[in-house]
């Protein structure tokens, strides 16, 4: 057999494939959608950085042929914050899982949204802590079994789009790994959006979640995504909670405009800094306003 090349191999570290994810895991699909979205956006790829924390989804930073930052658990957003503030021209994408972003890094998530930092956060939600052995996490639905809730989970889960939208994000969407084309479009919109944009990607975890809940293989979950999804753009994210086996509300929930962290910072500091610097910043702000 001749050495065949996948058309996306130039965007991946193909020498590290096949990757570590289980058969049927959806993170590979989310990663493909991200690289496809970046390729179609046509941004210079040497100015794109993928930052991730710890977990299965966080492995993405090591598989894409982009600058990657595999950081400590839950701290992907703080690292990305520093990266973005020191290098404002970089496109910074945080790609991590629900446990990393919403539990250990939950505080960073809401505060980054509150500040409206110009970041794109992609959260792969597989309802469980996959890599550490299937413990329940902040997004595990009620009554779901896990290694640490053998009699069913009784903690109400986070509704991530509602959490992030309430904290002040300017772009909030939710898709599943079955809705690939919409996911690519959502990633493009989120990356192009100025401010804190958040995309939740629902994904099957065949080993940690499905097997323990006797929900079959990953294929069953994909069929469920196909059958039970309801696309409601502009819906109130508070009504988009996830129940086990229930309807999944997908779509673009929030797409608004708010001044970003850097815009506010520069405007505020320009009032107090010494005149020559303030003058320069004022000119920059005016030039930007003329452009837009």
């Amino acid at each position: 057999m001749t050495e065949a090349q996948h058309p996306l191999d130039h965007l991946l570290r193909a020498d590290r494939l096949p990757h570590i994810w289980c058969p049927g895991c959806g993170i590979g699909i989310a990663m493909r959608c991200l690289v496809l979205a970046l390729e179609e956006l046509g941004r210079p790829l040497d100015r794109v950085v993928v930052v991730s924390g710890i977990g299965c989804s966080a492995r993405v930073a090591g598989y894409v042929r982009l600058d990657g930052f595999h950081t400590t658990h839950g701290r992907a957003i703080p690292f990305a914050t520093g990266l973005k503030l020191a290098n404002p021209d970089l496109t910074v994408i945080v790609f991590s899982g629900d446990g990393d972003l919403a539990a250990i890094g939950g505080n960073h998530l809401i505060h980054a949204a509150r500040r409206n930092l110009d970041l794109t956060v992609i959260c792969v939600n597989n309802f469980i802590y996959g890599m550490t052995g299937g413990q329940f996490g902040p997004t595990t639905p009620l009554a779901a079994r896990s290694t640490t809730t053998p009699y069913g989970n009784f903690e109400p889960p986070f509704n991530l789009p509602a959490l992030v939208a309430a904290s002040g994000a300017v772009y909030v969407a939710r898709w599943t790994v079955f809705h690939v084309r919409r996911l690519i479009a959502a990633f493009q919109e989120a990356i192009a959006k100025k401010g804190f944009s958040f995309v939740e990607v629902l994904s099957p975890c065949p080993t940690g979640y499905l097997r323990r809940n006797k929900l079959g293989e990953a294929l069953e979950m994909m069929r469920y995504f196909k059958a039970q999804s309801e696309i409601r753009h502009g819906a109130d994210p508070a009504e988009a909670g996830i129940e086990m086996g229930g309807k999944l509300i997908l779509g673009k929930f929030v797409d608004i405009e708010r001044p970003t962290y850097q815009e506010r910072m520069r405007k505020q500091l320009a009032m107090f800094f010494i005149e020559p610097y303030a003058e320069k910043v004022r000119e920059e702000i005016e030039a930007e306003e003329v452009e837009s």
Binding site: A14, L17, R32, F178, A218, R223
Partner: protein
């Protein structure tokens, strides 16, 4: 697969691809499916969600012991790239073959 065929027969749908060679459909653009068998982990997403049933599971294994899919009816492929987009392993891709008609 077999149940699906039975269901289609019972509802009176045609089971065989209705595309004789040299017909109009054969001259349209279509896709050529490539499999990178060593990357496959046998999740069957490509087989299940191909809208034209181009793929099926084979009883062959790759060197890691995963069942791999097989292309059974490439003439039905319309280059929609659903298998390529849904493959979590970057193990399948479709190359467009331009037909005479556009």
């Amino acid at each position: 697969m077999f149940e699906e065929l039975k269901r289609m027969e019972s509802t009176g749908m045609k089971t065989e691809p209705a595309v004789p060679a040299q017909s109009r459909a054969a001259r349209r653009s279509h896709g050529h499916v490539f499999l990178l068998a060593e990357r496959c982990k046998g999740c069957r997403f490509c087989v299940e969600f191909c809208p034209r049933q181009v793929l099926a599971m084979s009883d062959r294994f790759n060197s890691k012991g995963y069942h791999i899919p097989i292309v059974i009816a490439e003439e039905r492929c319309t280059d929609c790239k659903m298998c390529e987009l849904l493959c979590p392993e970057f193990a399948i891709y479709v190359v467009r073959i331009e037909g005479e008609e556009r």
